[in-house]
């Protein structure tokens, strides 16, 4: 199955877990906030939150997921995750993710994947970056200051995307 073609961002992003204004100002705090939000809104179990946060931070230490242009996509493959899920956090002040271009990060997409599904994980990453590489989408996302605004933007770009 070519999940890369079928998957829509709105199906991947757990909308209730979107954090339109991150209070955390550091990388680890942002990761914790986004994983916690996924648990608080029922996308994942609460029990493995600490383990997932630790794994995500360890992963960042091995190599930043700050891809440049104000975007980071921290991610974890974890045995407690049965269905891939993701959320978006937005920071108006910018967070240091030790990004490739050294610039602060304003849009953080947190992706949680099952442990043994590398193809699905790559398909989700492809989808996320297919959208994020659009300058306009990044700019609008950075300006979207409410959960509703971010959801509208995702739905809108999903409709435009037709490849």
């Amino acid at each position: 199955m070519d999940v890369g073609v079928l998957m829509k961002l709105s199906e991947l992003i757990h909308k209730p877990s979107i954090v339109p204004e991150l209070e955390a100002t550091d990388r680890n705090g942002v990761i914790r906030c986004l994983v916690q939000s996924l648990a608080d809104h029922g996308a994942i179990d609460a029990e493995p939150v600490d383990a997932i946060v630790r794994a995500a931070i360890t992963r960042e230490r091995q190599g930043s997921t700050g891809f440049g242009k104000g975007v980071a996509v921290p991610h974890v493959k974890h045995s407690s995750i049965t269905k891939m899920t993701a959320t978006i956090g937005r920071s108006s002040h910018g967070v240091d993710f030790a990004a490739l271009d050294r610039a602060p990060v304003y849009i953080i997409v947190m992706l949680l994947s099952p442990a043994e599904a590398p193809e699905e994980h790559l398909a989700a990453m492809e989808r996320i970056f297919r959208y994020l590489q659009r300058e306009k989408f990044r700019r609008f996302l950075r300006q979207a200051d409410s959960q509703e605004a971010i959801i509208d933007l995702i739905d809108e770009v999903d409709e435009l995307q037709d490849d």
Binding site: Q62, S64, F67, K69, V71, K77, P118, H121, E126
Partner: protein
Amino acid sequence: MSLLTCGDGQTGSADGTSRASRDVTIPNKEGLHARPVMTFVDLAQKCQASVSVVNLSKRGEEVDGKSAMQMMLLEATQGSVLRITARGVDAAEAVAALAALVEAGFKTDSPQQPDG
């Protein structure tokens, strides 16, 4: 010292239009995920030549090998064949170094890191 270096030699033609290309297979189980992409882009950015990559197994688009975001679009799983093409003075050297990186499963001589 890593053997994966780029940009020191003068293997290209004087007019800077030298071109080199090579097909390589993704050997690692997790495929071309974020960390390998970062390693690849890091090396590609050290080359003077432009670097483009196509996933022949997916018949996808040609992406800029120096852009981490574009490289993630390749969606290259284990066994996928990538065509790496470089254009510029150090094209041959760039392709050799990048192909070696892929074939080594993106392992450089930096500290050991688990795949995934």
